[in-house]
C-alpha cells in the first residue's frame, strides 16, 4: 500500500522533473503577457533572446561536460579570459577582428584541453580541477588588466556580432539557433554524441566496449572551451570593452540553465533543447521582474530558489538508483 503511494508520488515527480520547468515557464509567460503591456512586444522578446544568446551558447559546452557526468565551473572564467585576450589583441596590438576572434576561440579551446588533461590523465575530479582553473584564470585576468577596462574604437568592428540585426532579428539570436541546431545534430545523430551519452551512462562499460574514454573526454572539454571562448568574443562585443570580471556574471546562469534543463548531475541523460528553453526561461525571469518593477535586490533570491528547486527535482527523480 505504502509502496504503491510512493510509486505514484515518484511518477508525479518524474513528470514534473522532466517537463515541470516548461510548464512553469509557460505559466510565467501567460502571467507576464496579462500583467504587463510590454512583455509580448517583439522588441522585448528579441531583447530577452539576445540576452539569452551568450549564456545559452556557453551552456552548450557546460551541458556536454555534464552529460559525461562531470562539471566545468571554469567555463565563465574561461569566457572572460578569452574575451580579454581577444579584446586586447584588437585594442593593444591592432590585430584584425577575424584573427583576434579566432585566437579568442582557440585560447578557450586550449584551456578546455588542459581541463580535460587534468580530469583524465591526472585524474582530478572535474569540479576541483576546473575550480582551480577558474581561480588561475581570474587571477591572470586581473594581473594582466591591472583591474583596468580594455576599451577602444577597434572593438566597434565586432559590434555586429552581438548588436547587429538581420532583418528584424538580432544577429546573436541567429547565432544561438545555429549553434543549437548544430549541437542537436551532433548529440542525436553522430557517433560522437552517442558516445557522450554512453560514457555518461556507464563509463566503465563504455571503456570495455572499446571506446577511448579519455580521448573523448578531453575532446569534450576542448569543445566546451571553444564555445566558452566564442562566448567571450560575444561578450566583448556586447560590452564594447573587456574587464577582468566580465565572465563572472555567467557562471550562475550557465549552471542553472543546464541543470534546470534537466541534464542529470550524474550524467548520461538530458536533452539539449531543454537547455535552450531553460536559458530563455532564466532571462524571462529577470526581464519579467524588471517589467513588473521588482527590486534588483530581490531578483537574486528568486534565481537562487529556482536553482535549488531544479536540483531537488534532479535528485528526487534519480533517487531510486
Amino acid at each position: 500500500m505504502l509502496s504503491q503511494k510512493k510509486n505514484t508520488l515518484q511518477r508525479v515527480l518524474e513528470i514534473i522533473g522532466e517537463n515541470g520547468f516548461i510548464l512553469i515557464f509557460i505559466l510565467w509567460i501567460i502571467f507576464l503577457s496579462i500583467g504587463t503591456d510590454t512583455f509580448l512586444k517583439s522588441q522585448n522578446i528579441f531583447t530577452v533572446l539576445r540576452q539569452a544568446a551568450i549564456v545559452s551558447i556557453a551552456a552548450i559546452g557546460e551541458m556536454l561536460v555534464m552529460l559525461l557526468g562531470g562539471m566545468d565551473v571554469s567555463i565563465a572564467a574561461l569566457l572572460g579570459f578569452s574575451g580579454i585576450v581577444g579584446a586586447s589583441l584588437m585594442v593593444k596590438f591592432g590585430v584584425p577582428p577575424l584573427l583576434a576572434g579566432l585566437v579568442c576561440v582557440l585560447v578557450g579551446g586550449l584551456i578546455g584541453f588542459i581541463n580535460g588533461i587534468l580530469v583524465t590523465k591526472v585524474r582530478i575530479n572535474s569540479v576541483i580541477a576546473t575550480l582551480g582553473m577558474m581561480t588561475v584564470l581570474n587571477g591572470v585576468a586581473l594581473a594582466y588588466t591591472q583591474g583596468k577596462t580594455i576599451v577602444g574604437p577597434q572593438l566597434d568592428q565586432i559590434a555586429f556580432l552581438s548588436r547587429g540585426y538581420i532583418g528584424p532579428i538580432p544577429f546573436p539570436v541567429i547565432l544561438m539557433f545555429i549553434f543549437y541546431i548544430l549541437f542537436y545534430l551532433v548529440l542525436n545523430k553522430t557517433v560522437f554524441g552517442a558516445r557522450i551519452y554512453a560514457i555518461g551512462n556507464n563509463e566503465k562499460a563504455s571503456w570495455l566496449a572499446g571506446i577511448k574514454v579519455d580521448r573523448l573526454k578531453i575532446l569534450v572539454f576542448t569543445v566546451a572551451g571553444f564555445l566558452g571562448g566564442f562566448g567571450g568574443m560575444l561578450q566583448a562585443s556586447r560590452q564594447g570593452s573587456a574587464t577582468s570580471s566580465m565572465g563572472n556574471e555567467f557562471l550562475f546562469p550557465i549552471l542553472t540553465a543546464v541543470i534546470l534543463g534537466g541534464i542529470s548531475l550524474s550524467g548520461g541523460r538530458g536533452k539539449i533543447q531543454n537547455t535552450l528553453i531553460a536559458a530563455i526561461f532564466l532571462m524571462t525571469i529577470t526581464n519579467g521582474m524588471v517589467l513588473l518593477g521588482i527590486s534588483l535586490y530581490v531578483q537574486g533570491i528568486v534565481s537562487g530558489l529556482i536553482l535549488i528547486i531544479a536540483l531537488s527535482l534532479d535528485r528526487l527523480r534519480y533517487r531510486k538508483r
Binding site: 554512453a198 551512462n201 562499460a205 571506446i211
Partner: protein, 504 residues
C-alpha cells in the same frame, strides 16, 4: 550439547533462482561448525539470512531460547550474532579503538567517552592475544590479518555468542592464518560458537567439529568432521549431475589464435602459459581468489600485468579494450550491470555501440536504418526477449541482458570471445540457451575463452580446462577425459599435476 542456533525449513528464492530450499540445521553451543558448498550452493544467502541482511521466504529460526527474526543487521548484532564478511566492513580512516566500538560508542551525557572506548578496545584485543595492535593507529594502515582481528574484536565488544566467518583466510598469509586459528580456538574455549564458512577443505579438518554441506540450495550433509574425508566432502558438494545435457564439442580446430607466455601479475597470478586454437573453447576455473577472474581481465587490459607476453594471431598484443576491439577480441565481463551493459540506453544502442564507426558516414552521422537492422539481426540470432529495440536494457531480464552484453561483440564481428562467469545469476532455462550459443559459436569457428566457477559448464563446453590454484596453473586437463571430482580435487589444491608444455 544443546543447539544455540536452529533453522527449520528455511527457503529463499530470487527471481529465477531458488537459492535455499528447505534448509534445517542445528549449530551446537560452543562448537566450530563449518559450512561448505560449491559456488552458487546458497552459502552467501544463508549467511545473509543469519546476519539479518535478507529475510527468508519461509521457515523459522531460533537463537538461544527465543525465536530469531532479525529485521536488519543491527538487530542481529544486538541479539548476539556477529558476521565477518570476506570484504571486511571497517572504517579505514578511523582509529582501531573507534572501529572496535563503532555503533556502540560509550558516552557520558552525550559526549563520546574516549577513555572508556580505549579501555573496551584494549580489553577486547587482549582477549584475542593481540594487545600489540596500537589503539590509535588508522585501520587503513593495518595488515589484512590485523583488520580481521579488529572485526573479531568488534564482535566481542557486542558480546556476540555466535560468530559467522565468511572465508576468513582468503586474503591471509600462512602466519596470519596460524594466528587466526589460535584465536578461533581460544574463542571456542571461551564459549563462543563459530559458524565457519570456507572453500578450503584443509582448514575444516584442522579447525571444525561439525561440517555441513550445501548443494544447489539444499542441505545435503551434516556430520562430525571426524567421520568424513576430503573426498566424501567433495562428493557431497558435487552430487550426481545430469549427463548428456551438453552437445558434442566442435572437432574442427584451426590455427593457434591466442598465446599467453609466462604472464604474471604481482601476487595475483604467476607464470601463466597457454594457447588457444581457432574454434576451440578453453575453460579456466578455480576457487574464488585463485586469480582466474583477474587473469581474464588482464587479457583485455582491465587488470595490470607485470611480466609476460600475449600474442594474438602471432602478433604481440598489449591489452586494452580499444585494441582488443580492433583485434576482434570481444569481452563479456563478470559484473553485467556495472560493466557489460548500459542500463539506461536502448537494446539497439547497446548492441551497436562498438560498431558505430562502421555504421556511420562522413562526418560521423549514424545511419539509423543500418543500426536498426544490425541490432534486429542480433536480437533474432540470440533470441533476445524484448518488446522492442528501443526498450531500455535495464528493463530486460538478467539472461537477456547477458545476451545483449554478448550481442554487441557478435555484431561487430568478434572472432575471439572472452566470457567471464557468463551464467552467473541467470535462471536455468537461459543458462542452457547460453551453453548452446557458446557451442554454436565455437562450431562457427569462433574461439572462446570461458572463465567460470561452474565446473559443470566448463566440463560440458571446454576442449581443455585450465585449473588455477593460488594464482598458478594447477592442472591442464582435456575436457574429454576428466570428471567433476577430478577437477574439484585440483581446484581445492588436493592434487597437483606437473604441467608439460604439451600444447604447442
Amino acid at each position: 550439547m544443546r543447539p544455540i542456533l536452529s533453522l527449520k525449513h528455511i527457503s529463499r528464492s530470487f527471481p529465477g533462482v531458488r537459492a535455499l530450499e528447505d534448509v534445517s540445521l542445528e549449530v551446537a553451543q560452543g562448537t566450530i561448525h563449518a559450512l561448505v558448498g560449491a559456488n552458487g550452493a546458497g552459502k552467501s544467502t544463508l549467511i545473509k539470512i543469519l546476519a539479518g541482511a535478507l529475510a527468508p521466504d519461509a521457515g523459522e529460526m531460533t537463537f538461544g531460547d527465543a525465536p530469531y527474526v532479525p529485521a536488519d543487521p543491527s538487530e542481529a548484532i544486538r541479539a548476539g550474532v556477529s558476521t565477518i564478511y570476506q570484504e571486511l566492513n571497517l572504517l579505514p580512516t578511523r582509529s582501531v579503538a573507534a572501529n572496535i566500538n563503532v555503533g556502540k560508542e560509550p558516552s557520558r551525557f552525550g559526549f563520546l567517552d574516549e577513555n572508556a572506548e580505549r579501555k573496551k578496545a584494549a580489553d577486547a584485543l587482549a582477549r584475542l592475544g593481540a594487545g600489540s595492535i596500537p589503539l590509535s593507529a588508522f585501520v587503513g594502515d593495518l595488515k589484512v590479518g590485523e583488520k580481521q582481528i579488529i572485526e573479531i574484536a568488534k564482535a566481542l565488544v557486542s558480546k556476540s555468542s555466535l560468530l559467522i566467518m565468511d572465508e576468513p583466510t582468503a586474503a591471509l598469509n600462512e602466519s596470519e592464518i596460524t594466528f587466526l586459528f589460535q584465536i578461533v580456538k581460544d574463542l571456542k574455549k571461551q564459549g563462543v560458537t563459530i559458524l565457519y564458512v570456507s572453500h578450503r577443505l584443509k582448514e575444516i579438518f584442522m579447525l571444525a567439529d561439525v561440517v555441513s554441506v550445501l548443494r544447489d540450495g539444499k542441505l545435503v550433509l551434516t556430520s562430525l568432521v571426524a567421520e568424513v574425508t576430503p573426498d566424501s566432502l567433495i562428493n557431497a558438494m558435487t552430487g550426481r549431475k545430469i549427463a548428456g545435457a551438453f552437445p558434442e564439442r566442435n572437432r574442427a580446430l584451426g590455427e593457434e589464435v591466442l598465446r599467453v607466455e609466462s604472464l604474471s601479475s604481482r601476487t595475483v597470478f604467476e607464470d601463466i602459459n597457454f594457447s588457444i586454437r581457432q574454434g576451440e573453447v578453453v575453460g579456466i576455473t578455480g576457487l574464488a581468489g585463485s586469480g582466474k577472474v583477474e587473469l581474464g581481465k588482464a587479457l583485455i587490459g582491465d587488470f595490470p600485468i607485470n611480466s609476460g607476453r600475449i600474442h594474438l594471431r602471432g602478433q604481440p598484443f598489449k591489452p586494452s579494450p580499444s585494441k582488443a576491439k580492433e583485434a576482434q577480441f570481444g569481452y563479456m565481463p563478470e559484473d553485467r550491470k556495472k560493466e557489460g551493459i548500459l542500463e539506461e540506453l536502448s537494446v539497439q544502442r547497446n548492441i551497436s555501440l562498438p560498431s558505430l564507426p562502421e555504421l556511420s558516414r562522413f562526418p560521423g552521422f549514424i545511419q539509423f536504418r543500418k543500426e536498426r537492422s544490425l541490432a534486429q539481426q542480433e536480437v533474432e540470432e540470440l533470441d533476445i526477449k524484448t518488446p522492442s529495440l528501443h526498450q531500455l536494457v535495464r528493463n530486460l531480464s538478467g539472461g537477456n541482458q547477458q545476451k545483449v552484453s554478448l550481442a554487441k561483440w557478435l555484431a561487430t564481428g568478434s572472432e575471439i570471445l572472452l566470457l567471464i562467469e557468463p551464467t552467473q545469476g541467470i535462471d536455468v532455462g537461459v543458462k542452457f540457451e547460453i551453453y548452446k550459443l557458446i557451442h554454436k559459436l565455437s562450431s562457427q569457428g569462433k574461439t572462446i575463452l570461458l572463465v567460470s566457477s561452474e565446473i559443470s559448464e566448463i566440463l560440458g563446453l571446454a576442449h581443455s580446462i585450465i585449473i588455477l590454484f593460488n594464482g598458478r596453473i594447477q592442472a591442464v586437463l582435456s575436457g574429454d577425459d576428466t570428471n567433476e571430482e577430478e577437477i574439484l580435487q585440483y581446484t581445492f589444491g588436493q592434487k597437483q599435476k606437473e604441467i608439460a608444455h604439451e600444447r604447442s
